[in-house]
């Protein structure tokens, strides 16, 4: 009985801390939700043509101008799909990043740095070069080939960086680097030998990354893969938590590590490839977002994965808004902007986290 009383007492002592943590998580999610709405609204109105919201509201107020008015036309057919696409791509890349960082047990993993994005771009290039979209009417061949490219790259990087059951960080980053170089060479090669006319232009677009080709068709193309990829990653969040303690520990608590890793690499490749197929290679979103979210909310993947998805959407919509409104007349590819932000961040991580992660 004494023992029971002790347990009850401790339960009472323990609860407040738990509640504080849960309360904090709820506040952070509410904050992220509000920020998402705010950035979404601003992204809709800002751009090469700033939409005056008073005139827009006036148009929306009349049945005959609701769908055909000048501003509502821009809003519905140009701005809205573009902003949604940016949000979906940002969420995908952030989830893929969180997933890869967990699987590789390293905060420097990112679909771009590991070459997974470049793999997707090569797959997409191949499907373009062989005009495979004409032969596969039911399935989007671009996304499928991008997925195959991303998955193959992720698998190769994983196989090469695994030594005696442990991931070697230097090998991981160097394999990613080497594969990225090889993959961009393959893309150039295909462009040179291909007879498809506008392939060079498309490949150039993929290499820089951006949303200026965004339309409702692209939104439809990316949505299912994003949803499936992110949900699968979230589904395995407890396994990801256990795997952060090492494969050995994860297996000893009953996690089927090999099967879990396969699923997670498939999901990360899917999320990443769907992004690449509509927006090209956008680096560092998957690096920065989970890292910052982890500082805010902790490393538990059950909350880290959904929070990263929201934060990735916010970050990507924000970057795209800046990319299309910072220069008059033209817009800069958003991949350039994320690289400007991401490379210093990567170097900072490398400098500060060596003691813990190497």
């Amino acid at each position: 009985m004494d023992n029971m009383a002790g347990i009850m007492e401790e339960r009472e002592n323990e609860c407040p801390g738990e509640q504080i943590r849960r309360g904090r998580t709820a506040v952070i999610f509410a904050g992220l939700g509000l920020l998402l709405l705010a950035v979404f609204s601003v992204s809709l109105l800002w751009g090469s043509a700033n939409i005056p919201w008073r005139e827009l509201a006036a148009e929306m107020g009349h049945a005959e101008t609701r769908a055909s008015g000048r501003w509502s036309e821009i809003l519905i057919n140009i701005r809205l799909p573009r902003v949604l696409l940016a949000a979906l791509v940002g969420a995908s890349l952030a989830c893929a990043g969180a997933c890869l960082q967990g699987v590789f047990r390293n905060p420097m993993a990112d679909p771009y740095i590991l070459g997974v994005s470049a793999g997707g771009a090569v797959g997409a290039t191949i499907s373009m070069a062989f005009r495979l979209d004409r032969h596969l009417p039911f399935l989007n061949p671009l996304t499928l080939f991008a997925f195959l490219g991303s998955f193959a790259t992720a698998g190769i990087v994983y196989a090469f960086s695994l030594r005696n059951g442990r991931i070697q960080v230097t090998t991981l980053l160097l394999t990613g680097l080497a594969l990225s170089a090889l993959l961009s060479a393959i893309m150039s090669f295909i462009v040179v030998v291909s007879v498809v006319e506008d392939l060079a232009q498309t490949v150039y677009f993929w290499l820089l990354g951006g949303f200026y080709r965004a339309g409702w068709k692209e939104v439809g193309q990316v949505l299912p893969a994003t949803l499936v990829g992110c949900l699968v990653i979230w589904f395995f969040s407890r396994e990801l938590n256990a795997m952060v303690l090492g494969d050995e520990t994860a297996r000893s608590v009953g996690v089927d590590v090999e099967r879990t890793k396969k699923w997670l690499l498939v999901a990360a490749a899917l999320a990443c490839a769907s992004s690449v197929s509509v927006a090209g290679i956008i680096g560092f979103v998957g690096l920065i977002t989970p890292h910052v979210v982890r500082l805010l909310i902790g490393p538990d993947h059950r909350v880290l994965v959904p929070a990263s998805a929201i934060a990735g959407a916010i970050f990507m919509m924000g970057c795209d808004t800046i990319a299309r409104s910072i220069t008059p007349k033209t817009e800069i590819p958003v991949g350039i902007l994320t690289a400007f932000l991401g490379v210093p961040f990567f170097l900072y991580l490398m400098k500060t986290s060596r003691n813990i992660y190497f």
């Binding site: 339960r11 905060p107 050995e248 000893s252 608590v253 089927d256 992660y357």
Partner: protein
């Protein structure tokens, strides 16, 4: 009562090359067994095989009379807990979050820990005296504290058998004493069967009830009560160097010393 763990002609290794060969022994319920042997004799391989992290190349392992290869990994995780030597944790999890991971084999996917889970987590932390580390990052605490958190995580699995790989490595004597005393207490008071791999013969002699000595070729050299196994003859033949074994007047346990080469 039958043996808690029973190995029968077990060989195991990597890529088809056996590291340990033809090992047969039993671990009775409530045993505290130390596995000793020279470098590369397969101590860790033996432990990993007992945890079924490594499938045996030959032979069979029985756990409480049931064949280990027929049990699911979740089922095994409810009976056997392992504390690996590696204690690197990539991200800033809190002590509580780490210990809670020990509930994995009992929990349903995507559901939060229930009252019973929290009670077990609390109990595990109380037994290892780590409640104050609940909200601390595991990367901001000392090596001894991190070991205790990882031990808590293993206890949260409610195991019958605790396997530990070098639990005292990289720890100073204060923490060594703390960890080994804790293991002794768990063994005495909670009838936990403890099997540990350890480098330091004197620490093994202090803590363990029985000792298993592996020879350099990965074969079982001897197994039995600490005093009967840790003899000068056995140690010299296994380690290939001259040692002296005496009974410590303070602890009344065997104590191994050696002289440096001239």
């Amino acid at each position: 009562m039958s043996a808690h763990i029973e190995l029968n002609g077990v060989s195991a290794g990597y890529d088809g090359n056996p590291v340990i060969r033809d090992i047969t022994f039993e671990v009775p319920y409530g045993d505290f067994l130390a596995i000793l042997g020279p470098n590369a004799s397969g101590k860790t391989t033996l432990l990993r095989t007992m945890a079924r992290l490594l499938p045996p190349l030959a032979g069979s392992i029985h756990l409480g009379g049931r064949n280990l290869s027929r049990l699911s990994s979740r089922k095994i995780a409810r009976i056997v807990a392992l504390v690996p030597q590696e204690d690197h944790i990539g991200f800033d999890f809190t002590g509580l979050e780490i210990v809670a991971m020990g509930r994995y084999p009992y929990m349903q996917r995507l559901s939060p820990p229930g009252p019973d889970d929290w009670q077990r987590i609390e109990q595990a932390m109380r037994r290892t005296n780590t409640q104050h580390l609940r909200n601390r990052s595991v990367n901001a605490i000392s090596g001894g504290e991190r070991k205790r958190i990882l031990l808590s995580r293993a206890l949260a699995q409610e195991p019958e058998v605790l396997l530990l790989d070098e639990p005292t490595s990289n720890l100073d004597i204060n923490y060594q004493k703390e960890i080994l005393s804790l293991l002794r207490r768990l063994n005495d008071e909670h009838q936990l069967t403890v099997v540990l791999v350890i480098h330091d013969i004197n620490l093994a002699a202090l803590a363990a009830k029985r000792v298993l000595l592996l020879s350099g070729e990965g074969r079982l050299h001897s197994l039995g009560e600490t005093e009967t196994v840790l003899t000068e003859g056995a140690l010299e033949s296994v380690y290939g160097t001259e040692v002296h074994v005496e009974t410590s007047p303070q602890t009344h346990r065997p104590h191994v010393t050696f002289e440096l080469d001239e």
